[in-house]
């Protein structure tokens, strides 16, 4: 590994991905800067979710799925044979499309689940970790009096913030978000978007979204995918104002998608 500090900077180099015989990512070259929010946009089936699932090596868990090329995290190829994907996923957390708190666990246990699952929980620090993670996910004030209640009893937006808290509790460097607001109402969405801008001070964030306004509102950089290829990546303001590629322009102006 290089002498770089761990900051959560990703570099994809000729990244390919397949589901069985079907290639869903083609030669993607993309740098994701540390401690900023990168949005990945594109129409359904363009490979945007697959791309972020390659960043924490969850793509390969689907039977028949495989990848090629290199993806470096802080200079180290995460697909090198000596990299343990389990340890990688503790550095690269993920928030999913549908809120998925563990139904058998209370709010508190959901936050601690990552540490408990992996046996890394220091009991004396548990309460502090719970509060810290819930505060970071902007959920503490709403649930502080009922930490023992089940996580699935919360509203959809609260559940999603609980999932964010659960991800943050493991202290990752990167947080991947796969359309985290697509199952939420506009108010809950706004809360999560506010939260994102607070989180980028400490985490590298990659957010997949099919909502271009959301990408424009929250992200610093935006990458546009189409049919498995990265078409264009730029600072968000630039991409939405002066798209270079014709296809990007057609997509963001709503000509297709």
């Amino acid at each position: 590994m290089n002498a770089q500090v761990a900051t959560g900077r990703f570099e994809a180099e000729d990244a390919d991905a397949w589901f069985g015989p079907k290639q869903v990512l083609r030669k993607v070259n993309l740098m994701i800067p540390e401690r900023r929010i990168t949005a990945v946009i594109g129409p359904s089936g363009c490979g945007k979710s697959t791309f972020i699932r390659c960043l924490n090596r969850m793509h390969e868990l689907v039977p028949g799925a495989r990848t090629a090329g290199r993806i470096r995290l802080d200079g180290e190829n995460i697909y090198a044979p000596d990299v343990d994907p389990v340890l990688l996923r503790r550095r690269v957390g993920m928030v999913f499309q549908k809120p998925n708190p563990f139904p058998t666990m209370s709010i508190r246990d959901n936050v601690l689940s990552g540490l408990r699952l992996t046996g890394a929980l220091d009991r004396s620090r548990a309460e502090a970790i719970v509060e810290q993670a819930l505060r970071a996910a902007a959920l503490w004030e709403e649930v502080r009096d009922r930490l023992g209640e089940p996580g699935v009893g919360l509203s959809g937006g609260q559940q999603q913030r609980l999932c964010i808290a659960r991800t943050l509790a493991v202290s990752p460097e990167v947080v991947l978000m796969d359309e985290p607001c697509s199952a939420l109402d506009p108010i809950a969405t706004a809360r999560i978007e506010d939260l994102l801008s607070e989180l980028k001070a400490r985490y590298t964030i990659v957010i997949v979204t099919h909502n271009m306004q959301q990408a424009a509102r929250v992200s610093d950089r935006t990458a546009f995918f189409l049919a498995g290829e990265l078409i264009e990546v730029a600072e968000t303001d630039n991409l939405f104002t002066y798209p270079v590629d014709r296809r990007t322009e057609d997509y963001i102006t709503g000509k297709f998608g």
Partner: protein
């Protein structure tokens, strides 16, 4: 009223009546059977019957060795079959999905569930009683019954594992859990009620089995309680079978009373399991 409407309504009423009779007819027969049984059992149903040992005189005979034998047997059977069955189901569902071996095993398990129990008895006689040298013991009986109920437990457990949404497995994997941690801490707790259902079915099947126990040589007349897993034993169904086959009419009452005890034991075991399952379900729904 339109004549067509009238015919249709009449037909619907008829159909409903038909369905209702389908429900009531077997139920009525069952109630009648049970009623008859309880009446026949009445003269023998007292504490002495529960705490007594077999005897040549019907009125002195008790069911204690059979009852204790059955309880031991069920306890051992579940202790053997549950870990193995749940383990096999976890392999098939969580690790072996799509593998050729898993498919092969799957087909065989479905077939095994339909094999007559006496065949299991013969298998148990050869493997456990003779080859492994367990003799005609509780352990040999329990191992045989465990084989018998294994398919039931495996299939119920697989069903239960399949109801755990993949999103929960993904959540755990995404947090950096190993496959084992995912199964142990997310999938198993979530599917516990379903697994319990499988065990209830297994207990219900095992407690009434007679044929395999006859084959491996459970005794019918013992005047002592088993003092370990290698002791000879008897079980309730064997005891009942023995009483029914006696020529003296008085033993028919003993058999009836034995059946009542057997059913009572079964109900008690199942009620406990259902209570436990209900508690787990409540914990899951979060209404502790």
């Amino acid at each position: 009223m339109h004549p067509e409407t009238r015919t249709r309504r009449r037909n619907e009423r008829l159909f409903r009546l038909l369905c209702l009779s389908c429900l009531f007819l077997p139920l009525a027969m069952l109630v009648w059977l049970l009623g008859d049984l309880v009446v026949k059992a009445m003269p023998r149903l007292h504490m002495d019957f529960l705490s007594g040992y077999p005897s040549r005189r019907a009125t002195d005979a008790g069911v204690l060795p059979g009852m204790i034998g059955s309880l031991y047997l069920i306890f051992l059977t579940v202790s053997l079959a549950m870990p193995i069955g749940v383990g096999a189901a976890i392999y098939l569902e969580e690790f072996g999905r799509r593998s050729r071996l898993a498919h092969l095993i799957e087909v065989n398990i479905a077939n095994l569930a339909g094999v007559p129990s006496i065949i299991y008895g013969l298998l148990g006689l050869e493997i456990f009683v003779r080859v492994l040298g367990l003799g005609r013991s509780l352990l040999a009986g329990a191992a045989t019954l465990a084989l018998l109920v294994l398919p039931v437990i495996i299939m119920a457990t697989r069903e239960a594992l399949r109801t755990v949404p993949d999103s929960l497995r993904e959540a755990a994997v995404g947090l950096g859990a190993t496959p084992w941690q995912v199964v142990r801490q997310v999938v198993l707790p979530q599917s516990m009620p379903g697994i319990m259902t499988g065990c209830i079915l297994a207990v219900s099947r095992a407690i009434g089995e007679t044929a395999p126990l006859v084959v491996i040589g459970a005794l019918t007349f013992i005047t002592f309680l088993p003092d370990g897993v290698l002791a000879p034993f008897t079980a309730l169904p064997i005891q009942i079978f023995n009483w029914i086959s006696r020529p003296q009419a008085a033993f028919a009452h003993n058999a009836a009373a034995g059946i009542v005890v057997l059913m009572g034991t079964l109900l008690l075991l199942n009620a406990t399991a259902i209570y436990l399952r209900g508690r787990m379900e409540r914990i899951q729904k979060g209404t502790h």
